[in-house]
């Protein structure tokens, strides 16, 4: 890898960066999807926001395209043209969408980005199938990528996917665990789950970009660490939004996570903060039988106690801490200044959805 001795640092905005990377990756992603059987292809198009139920084209896309941008920027940060990362970017977008399709089934989430989830729109069986088709396609894209780094990219994707599946297992298993006592999920276990479930795929996106660019092992490791930390920060902010976000912005019902008895970072942090509000919160949540059956008044009171016990602040502090770790990782290896600047600008944008 050779880095330019001097590069003008780009003043590109995060939105411009995401749009630039999307323009590079989306044509390849669309082309791959058209090669699927028409039925999973339509479901995939619906999930990507490209069409409505029935297949009528729709303007715009779903999602920010963060994973594809990370792959492209990390290839560029390693001194290669961003185009070299396109197969990696396509693979992580496919795997990300696969995981959304299947997770919505597992979690019983009926809406995704203000539209019916794929399983609500097309049925559970077809949604399972569409997810499987995207999963298989992701491996096919990497396994047939030109150049000398395809095999390493496949190894990396398969290793990180194990973490993603582990994280989803930990998340699902945590639903039946109690709020307090020795069997409770603690903040440490929660953060490990978030690193697997959300961090692993962002780390994979970064690693694939660097790997396909032929970056040395240390650079791949640093960029993937930055992606993982960003993922945990992202999840912490997502948890805060799940409790206090504006439903018009998040597309999710207010207090939805708390209503379903989900173990999220603000709640777990509040429960273990040792304040009087912590004890009242534990009492309130433990009294809900079965979990997820709480009425509106209880949910509002619980959300208030989470904030009072410092759960909101604690989750946001964790997000900031993880962003610092991501920045630290990015500064630990030599990277091309322009793409590095874009990466650094992207970090707070991703977690800054609180307004």
């Amino acid at each position: 890898m050779t880095l330019p001795a001097s590069t003008t640092v780009s003043p590109r905005s995060p939105a411009d960066t995401l749009a630039r990377c999307r323009a590079l990756v989306e044509p390849a992603l669309r082309e791959r999807i058209t090669r699927l059987h028409p039925w999973p292809a339509e479901m995939a198009g619906y999930a990507f926001g490209w069409c409505d139920i029935g297949g009528a084209p729709r303007t715009g896309t779903s999602g920010k395209g963060l994973r594809q941008a990370l792959a492209v920027l990390c290839a560029e940060a390693a001194g290669a043209p961003g185009g070299i990362a396109v197969d990696g970017a396509v693979a992580v977008e496919l795997v990300h969408t696969f995981s959304l399709l299947h997770d919505d089934i597992m979690d019983g989430d009926e809406t995704r980005r203000e539209r019916p989830a794929v399983w609500k729109a097309y049925g559970t069986g077809p949604a399972v199938l569409a997810g499987d088709a995207l999963f298989a396609l992701a491996f096919e894209v990497l396994a047939t990528a030109p150049g000398p780094h395809g095999a390493a990219a496949v190894r990396r994707l398969s290793r990180d996917l194990r973490d993603v599946v582990d994280g989803q297992s930990e998340d699902l298993a945590s639903e039946s665990r109690p709020w307090t006592g020795p069997e409770a999920v603690d903040v440490h276990a929660y953060l490990r789950m978030a690193e697997h479930k959300t961090g692993a795929l962002l780390g994979c996106a970064a690693a694939l970009g660097a790997l396909l660019a032929g970056a040395p092992e240390g650079t791949v490791h640093a960029l993937s660490t930055a992606g993982r930390e960003l993922g945990v920060a992202f999840q912490a902010v997502d948890d805060v939004l799940g409790l206090w976000g504006d439903p018009a912005v998040t597309g999710k019902p207010v207090h939805g996570d708390l209503r379903r008895g989900k173990k999220t970072l603000p709640v777990l942090a509040a429960l273990t903060a040792g304040t009087p509000a912590s004890a009242r919160l534990a009492e309130l949540l433990t009294a809900v039988r079965p979990p997820g059956a709480a009425g509106d008044a209880v949910i509002r009171r619980a959300a208030g106690l989470v904030a009072e016990a410092g759960g909101r602040e604690s989750a946001l502090a964790e997000a900031r801490r993880r962003l610092d770790l991501a920045r630290e990782a990015l500064h630990s290896v030599p990277l091309a200044p322009g793409p590095l600047a874009e990466l650094l600008t992207l970090l707070p944008f991703v977690t800054g959805r609180l307004g």
Copy 2:
């Protein structure tokens, strides 16, 4: 590849062959499963027949282990020790079990091998997750396989998996198509579906064994063709068993496929045979509204008409024709005589489940 100039042809029985290959592969398969998160690991163990719900060990295994045997025998037929195929055999068994878990959800099949299907035993969400875990693990096993052929094996698995997913898409989509008219599923489309859904993975098993043994391209192609043809024969026999098999042997309800309005080979062949019974069958099936709502008397009469129109004989003739094509493929390239003999003995055993 060097083949021994003269080898005593083994008189091994099909059951001995399957047991020998299982002894080679199953320890590696079990070891891989223990590395999964405990929850999907238990569901996988249940699906493999190694444990009951809750994880208590159970003697015996589910399934014949045909795919693992094909991988091992094809490596040996290509002149390598069978052990070289173990990673490929593990990968196809993982993918096969993944597809059973997800297909049972899509098809609404509540029992599998006389036990509750995984989604009935553990819930739909967890069964989706367990399937995903096995799918990811299959790629990890191949991607990290030692030796020079891992990357080619990953490419092969991803390509064949696309066919498997296409086949499942075609199968699911066929359920809503009419029995007659221009929109009907014809025998040709059915056979393409069966080649994808069932043939692709048997072909993959054979190809992976040959690939990991370092066989030349022509040998890989011939062995994989034999596996594909065997898969279609297998599916044709499965369809006959689904209509006329003894529920005590098949573990499936009598006439189950016909009851659910599934488009299977005997029915499609009967409908297009041009006999008086064909016309009466078409009339009978078309009158069922919605499909799958037929009473016992109608189902029994339909099964009788399928047989009368020659549907049973036609499906069995197709199975025999496919076995001949498989044999032809095996004889088209030089193979080690001992393993070739075992492969040839295995073919009719697999389709000979009619008694």
